[in-house]
C-alpha cells in the first residue's frame, strides 16, 4: 500500500510539473498545498454490520491548483490511515477454545479492538468562470470533477470495502475580502459513478484472482443519482502572506448513501490547515 501511495504521489507531482513554472500574470496563480487536520468519519454498511463505525483521524492533503482569469484547475489527494471501531463497542472480548495437536483443549480470551481504516480520495477538477460581480470580488465557477474514493477497513469481525469513481458537476464561489484574503465555497454531487463494495456474499472469491481484484470484478456496479447520492461541500479561507506563501483553513464535509440490497451511509467532517506554496516566479 505504501508503494502504491508513493507511486500515486509521484504521478501527481509529475502531472503538476506540467503547470509549474508558468509565466505569471496578475490573473494567473499556481500553487501547491500541503495540509493536515482533524476529521470525524462515521459509517454504517448494513450489508456487513448493523453497527455504526466511527473514526477520528488526521487526513493528509496534497493539492495543486492553477487559477487563471477564467478557469480553475485543481487536483487534490487526501490520504488517511487510522483506526475504527463500533460506537458502542470500543473493545469487545470473547472466550474461545480449540484443541492443540494432542487434543488438549486450550481456552483463551481474545479481544476485538480498533481496526485499521485506510481511505484515499483523489479529485481532479476543472471549472470555468460563469459569473462575476462588478467589483470582481465575487466570482462563480461551474465545471466538473472526476473523483476516486476508496475506503477499506479490515476489522477482526467484518470487512468493509467501498470504492467510488464518479463524475461530478461542481460549483465554486470565490469571494475576495481583500487582495490577500479570500473565501472559496464549493459544492459537487455525482451524476454517474462506478461503485464497488464487497459482493453480496461478503466473499470476494472467484477461484482465479486475489481478493482485491475479485472484489472489483464481483462487487462493481454503475450507479446514477437514484442509487448513489453524495454531497461534497468545501469551504476554504485563504490568507496570503506574500508572493510565495499562504495559509488556508478548510472545512470539508461529505455525506454519501449507496442503495444496493442493503444501504451504505457515511459522512465525514474535516477541518484542515494547509500551507500554500506558489509555484509562480516573482514578476
Amino acid at each position: 500500500m505504501n508503494k502504491k501511495f508513493f507511486l500515486a504521489t509521484l504521478l501527481f507531482c509529475l502531472s503538476i510539473s506540467v503547470f509549474a513554472g508558468n509565466d505569471i500574470t496578475e490573473n494567473r496563480y499556481t500553487y501547491l498545498s500541503l495540509g493536515t487536520g482533524y476529521s470525524q468519519f462515521r459509517m454504517i454498511d448494513r450489508k456487513v454490520s448493523p453497527l455504526m463505525y466511527s473514526s477520528s483521524q488526521s487526513p493528509n492533503w496534497l493539492s495543486f491548483a492553477n487559477i487563471t482569469e477564467n478557469s480553475i484547475f485543481k487536483a487534490n489527494l487526501n490520504f488517511v490511515y487510522n483506526f475504527t471501531s463500533p460506537d458502542e463497542f470500543k473493545e469487545r472480548s470473547f472466550i474461545f477454545s480449540s484443541p492443540n495437536h494432542n487434543g488438549v483443549i486450550r481456552e483463551d480470551t481474545a479481544t476485538f479492538s480498533k481496526s485499521s481504516l485506510i481511505q484515499d480520495e483523489l479529485t481532479v477538477e476543472y471549472l470555468r468562470l460563469i459569473s462575476a460581480n462588478e467589483t470582481g470580488k465575487l466570482k462563480l465557477y461551474f465545471g466538473g470533477q472526476l473523483k476516486q474514493y476508496f475506503s477499506y477497513s479490515s476489522t477482526q469481525a467484518p470487512v468493509f470495502v467501498f470504492s467510488e469513481i464518479s463524475l461530478n458537476p461542481s460549483l465554486l464561489m470565490r469571494y475576495r475580502f481583500s487582495d490577500t484574503f479570500e473565501s472559496q465555497s464549493g459544492l459537487s454531487v455525482p451524476l454517474a459513478s462506478l461503485i464497488t463494495q464487497m459482493p453480496y456474499s461478503n466473499d470476494p472469491t472467484d477461484g482465479k484472482h486475489n481478493y482485491l481484484i475479485s472484489t472489483f470484478l464481483m462487487g462493481s456496479n454503475f450507479a446514477s443519482l437514484n442509487r448513489f447520492q453524495r454531497i461534497n461541500f468545501h469551504q476554504s479561507l485563504q490568507k496570503r502572506f506574500n508572493h510565495r506563501w499562504a495559509v488556508a483553513l478548510d472545512y470539508d464535509f461529505y455525506w454519501l448513501h449507496y442503495r444496493n440490497n442493503c444501504d451504505i451511509n457515511a459522512y465525514d467532517n474535516s477541518v484542515t490547515v494547509k500551507l500554500l506554496i506558489s509555484l509562480n516566479s516573482k514578476k
Binding site: Q40, V104, I105, F112, A157, G207
Partner: protein, 384 residues
C-alpha cells in the same frame, strides 16, 4: 421512529438571533462606523451560523446514517434470523426449513430475555445448521463461544496426537514455519504436517521447494492434515498443485448473491495444475479426520483427484464453504457459510465430510498408548 435532533433546534435559535442582529443593522445604517462594525458582526454571525449548521447537520446521525438498530433481545433475534436467512448458503443442500425454526424459537425471546438465555436460544437455533463454520462469539459476557457442527459437539479429538508421532514414528520432527512441520518416518517415508492453510502462497512455494527437494529420495510422503482448521482455498489449491501432474478441475463453488435460499452466482471452478519448480508424483498419503476442516478439506478433495494419492483416516469435518463474519446490534459476532461447495463431479459433501479412500479410525486407547494405526496404514500403503 422519528427522533428530534437537538442540534437542529440549537441552530434554529442561532439563526433567529442572527436575523435579529441583521434587523438591528438597518437602524444604524446612517452611522458609518457603526455600520462597519455591524457589517463585520453580521459577517461573523453568518460564518458562525454556517459552521453551526454544518456541524449540527453532521452530528444528526439518524438523519445522515439512518435509524440505529435497536439493541434489545427481540431485535437481536430478528437480525440474526434474517441475516442467516439471507446469507446462509447451505439451506438447500442440507434441506433445512429455516422458516419453521423461526416459529419455534422466536416465541422464546421477550424484551426481558437475559443475555444467558438469549445465548442459549441462539445456540439452539444455530445447532440446526450443523455447520462447523457457524459460530457465535458472545462478546463481553464471559460466556464461552458457541461452535456448531460436529467439531462443536465433539469439542476435541482423541484419535490423533502429534506427540505420539514425534515420539514413536519419526526420527526428528522439525519445524519449517509456524504451521509446517516435517521429518522422516521409519521406512524412508517423508512426513509433512500442515497445521493450517493460511501462511501465504509465497511461503508455501518456498516451503515446498525445500520439502520436495528434501524428500526427493523417499519412497513416499505422508501429508498430515489432522487437526487442520483450514484457511484459504487458493493456498490449499497451490499446495495440491505441487503434487499434480496434469490440469484438472479440483472443485467448484457458487456464492450467495441474493436473499432467496436458491440465489447463487454461477459455479466458479478451482483448477488444480502443476505448480512450482517441481512436483512430487510418487506415492502420497493424505491423513484426515473430523478436525480436518474447510480449506484442509478442499485440499484433500483436490489431492484425491491424483492417482498417486490415497486419503487415509477418518471422514473430514464437512465444512467446505467459505464463511463470513457478521455482527448483531448487541455487539456479538457470528460466522456463517455463504456458499455451496461441490466436488468436481457436482457432489456436495457439506455437512457430511469427505470420506477417505482407506478408512482407519484410530482407537483413543491405542493413541493414549502411543499407537497411530492410521499412520501405520498410510506408511504400509506407501511402502507397497
Amino acid at each position: 421512529m422519528k427522533r428530534t435532533c437537538l442540534h437542529t433546534i440549537t441552530f434554529e435559535n442561532q439563526w433567529s438571533e442572527a436575523k435579529l442582529n441583521t434587523d438591528e443593522n438597518k437602524s444604524c445604517e446612517f452611522h458609518p462606523t457603526i455600520k462597519k462594525i455591524n457589517y463585520f458582526r453580521m459577517k461573523t454571525i453568518k460564518i458562525v451560523a454556517l459552521l453551526a449548521v454544518m456541524f449540527s447537520f453532521a452530528s444528526c446521525d439518524d438523519m445522515l446514517l439512518g435509524e440505529k438498530e435497536q439493541n434489545n433481545p427481540v431485535n437481536n433475534f430478528d437480525v440474526l434470523w434474517n441475516d442467516v436467512d439471507k446469507m446462509y448458503g447451505g439451506f438447500a443442500v442440507k434441506d433445512i426449513d429455516w422458516d419453521s425454526l423461526y416459529d419455534v424459537y422466536r416465541p422464546l425471546v421477550t424484551m426481558n430475555t437475559s443475555d444467558a438465555e438469549l445465548f442459549n436460544i441462539f445456540s439452539s437455533l444455530l445447532d440446526h445448521l450443523d455447520d462447523n463454520h457457524v459460530s457465535l462469539l458472545p462478546t463481553n459476557t464471559g460466556f464461552p463461544s458457541y461452535q456448531s457442527g460436529i467439531t462443536g459437539r465433539m469439542k476435541t479429538f482423541t484419535d490423533f496426537s502429534l506427540s505420539v508421532i514425534a515420539t514413536n514414528y519419526i526420527d526428528e520432527l522439525k519445524r519449517y514455519s509456524g504451521s509446517i512441520l516435517y521429518g522422516t518416518l521409519k521406512g524412508n517415508v517423508g512426513y509433512i504436517l500442515l497445521g493450517g492453510m493460511e501462511e501465504g502462497i509465497d511461503t508455501y512455494e518456498k516451503a515446498f521447494d525445500f520439502l520436495l527437494e528434501y524428500f526427493k529420495d523417499t519412497e513416499g510422503i505422508v501429508i498430515d492434515i489432522r487437526n487442520n482448521p483450514g484457511g484459504i482455498d487458493q493456498e490449499s489449491v497451490y499446495i495440491a498443485g505441487r503434487f499434480a501432474s496434469e490440469v484438472k478441475t479440483g472443485f467448484k463453488f457458487r456464492l450467495k448473491n441474493g436473499p432467496e435460499h436458491n440465489n447463487f452466482t454461477p459455479f466458479y471452478e478451482y483448477t488444480i495444475e502443476p505448480q512450482g519448480k517441481s512436483q512430487y508424483t510418487k506415492g502420497v498419503a493424505v491423513m484426515t479426520h473430523r478436525f480436518s476442516i474447510s480449506a484442509a478439506e478442499t485440499f484433500a478433495m483436490a489431492m484425491s483427484l491424483n492417482d498417486h494419492v490415497t486419503i487415509v483416516g477418518d471422514t473430514t469435518s464437512g465444512a467446505f464453504s467459505d464463511m463470513t463474519s457478521r455482527e448483531l446490534p448487541n455487539g456479538w459476532v457470528y460466522t456463517i457459510s455463504i456458499g455451496d461447495w461441490r466436488a468436481a463431479d457436482g457432489t456436495s459433501y457439506e455437512g457430511i465430510g469427505l470420506p477417505p479412500d482407506v478408512v482407519v479410525q484410530n482407537d483413543s486407547a491405542d493413541v493414549a498408548n502411543g499407537r497411530d494405526e492410521a499412520l501405520e496404514k498410510a506408511i504400509s500403503l506407501l511402502k507397497n
